[in-house]
């Protein structure tokens, strides 16, 4: 095999897979950004909600043989409910406390969910036992599950965008993200908005779970493999900025995918992390942030 002859096609394949990965990462960061922008809280345990969603899909589809779309809907709804529970039980009592306390409390939830999954489901890797075919285009391999994830991520992002800009509740959510004090004076019930946002953030986590479980095995620590990268994307795109998160997701995905082409996949992550730290020097306010 002559590396120089097939070099370009490998690179192109890596770039395409990077774009597809970027769609999923963008979906992951969207939920987190929404929560942060509106409630001003970072859910450190966000990836663990996704992990639970993936287990939900596994049990509904593989163990109880539900049709896959029923399983997906149930999964989205139940993770949305988990999001609301997280808000009511953990975040709401801490809304007045120092921001770092909220962050640490969700860190406690991370421990809890991880070990609850270990205790309940064991540490074996599980998968749906469903392998979607691989698309072969001109010598390149692109998996259907990635294409599906990419498409679903894009569609749901457009839907969320429309919902945020075209409905009353959406407008109220965006307004709260800009100024939380004034909005209660304008007659917006911020408690209700927080609940709606938590449900939406949880629902997006559930959707991400449905898409990720098609590509990856699920185990109690799966959250650690994509949780950190999601936080970095949100910070790089300026926390709370949806467009920034979207752009940063694709930048990160390309670095991981193309970097992983030349070395191991871990090095792709190392490059992404290093890029992040360099960017903190260059643009500490994030890619899309404005200097204050």
């Amino acid at each position: 095999m002559n590396p120089s002859a097939v070099f370009d096609i490998y690179l192109l394949e890596a770039v395409i897979n990077g774009v597809l990965l970027g769609g999923v990462l963008a979906l992951l960061s969207l939920g987190l950004n929404l929560i942060f922008g509106v409630i001003d809280v970072v859910w450190i345990c966000y990836a663990e909600l996704i992990m639970l969603g993936m287990y939900g899909m596994y049990f509904l589809f593989t163990v109880y043989h539900a049709p896959i779309w029923v399983a997906a809907i149930l999964c989205v709804v139940s993770v949305a409910i988990l999001g609301v529970l997280l808000h009511v039980l953990v975040i709401a009592p801490l809304l007045g406390a120092a921001p770092i306390n909220q962050l640490l409390a969700t860190g406690g939830v991370l421990f809890f969910l991880q070990s609850a999954a270990t205790v309940l489901f064991g540490i074996e890797f599980k998968n749906l036992g469903l392998r979607l075919p691989v698309l072969k285009v001109g010598g390149m391999f692109v998996s259907y599950s990635r294409l599906l994830a990419f498409a679903a991520a894009l569609i749901s992002m457009v839907l969320v965008y429309l919902w945020l800009t075209r409905t009353y509740t959406g407008t109220a959510i965006r307004a709260i993200a800009q100024d939380r004090q004034i909005m209660s004076l304008m007659g917006v019930d911020s408690r209700r908005i927080y609940l709606v946002t938590s449900a939406l953030g949880g629902g997006l986590a559930g959707l991400a779970a449905c898409l990720l479980v098609l590509q990856y095995d699920v185990h109690p620590f799966v959250g650690l493999s994509f949780g950190p990268i999601t936080f970095l994307i949100c910070v790089l795109g300026s926390l709370g900025n949806f467009v920034g998160g979207f752009v940063a997701a694709f930048v990160f995905a390309e670095i991981i995918s193309v970097g992983g082409l030349y070395l191991d996949l871990e090095w792709g992550y190392v490059f992404a992390f290093a890029f992040f730290i360099v960017m903190m020097f260059v643009r500490p306010e994030g890619l899309m942030g404005r200097r204050s």
């Binding site: 406690g108 421990f111 990268i229 903190m280």
Partner: protein, 322 residues
Amino acid sequence: MSRALPWIGGAALVALPFVYQQPYPLHILVIILIWSFAYTSWSVMGRFGLVSLGHGGFMGIGAYVTALAWNYGHVSPWLGIPLALVAGMALAAVVAYPCFRFRITGHYFALVTLALSGIVLQVITATRDYTGGSLGYTPERYRGGSSVWALQFSEKTTWYLIALAVWAVGLYVWYRVDRSMLRYALEAISEDEDAAAATGIHVTAEKLKITVLSAGMTALAGALYCQYQMFISPDTVSGISVSLQMVFAVVVGGIYVSLGPTVGAVITILLAEVLRISFGTRAVGWDNLVYGVLLVLFIVFLPKGIFGSLLDLRRRVGWSSS
């Protein structure tokens, strides 16, 4: 009386292994002392609102640099540990300087440092040809098993005394910081950076000092852990879960008091051991389950931690010893 208390307690701790030599309890004590030191190192900066989730990274560097220098360069840990400290402190300075210079605080600081522990974990895993990757790594045994040169000892008593000394040094550093101008500067900074800068405090320099100090101590804890356990893996000495574990233990014990991290270490390690012994392999996961619930409950209801709240209670009922 209260002035003599630390000395009496210290003497009792030093005398302990000569009176009582059961290997298992001594092992638990050594582990508790090493982690107490690590948690104290975190709280040195954590108490000023500088919540770092990167300390898992510093600990990993301390452990791996020491072990790699010994295995590949045949460098004695007496030289390898200082090397590891310098590496950890340099990394802390490189990452923390831009953070402080560009006013990355609170959430953002926590997330940037989270990235740092992620990087260290991934680098250790990615360089598996040298570090053994996620399977872990063992420093080579010195011929006789025990050697001062190799800093390897087979008797638990020696390790107990070493860990005790390092732990005491950690408390001393905590105490010195507590009595220094640095403390007042950092407290002012944690209240309001602009106001602190206006009174003439060099915000970036003061924060950098405490961060580098804390990172160096954490790297030492990692090196010590490596020398004692003779086995390290990325998951036990680095990464996000170790960082969170540090934060958790300190919050439970009490972040604003000198012995808080130690109390946190005693509680968390004993809890894990009790669960492990009483439930065996069925206990896998239960210790973290309890930790997680406790962490949330503590932050919501008892933000000063167990030891801090006890001290408060004592002060309130007027049962002061001074």
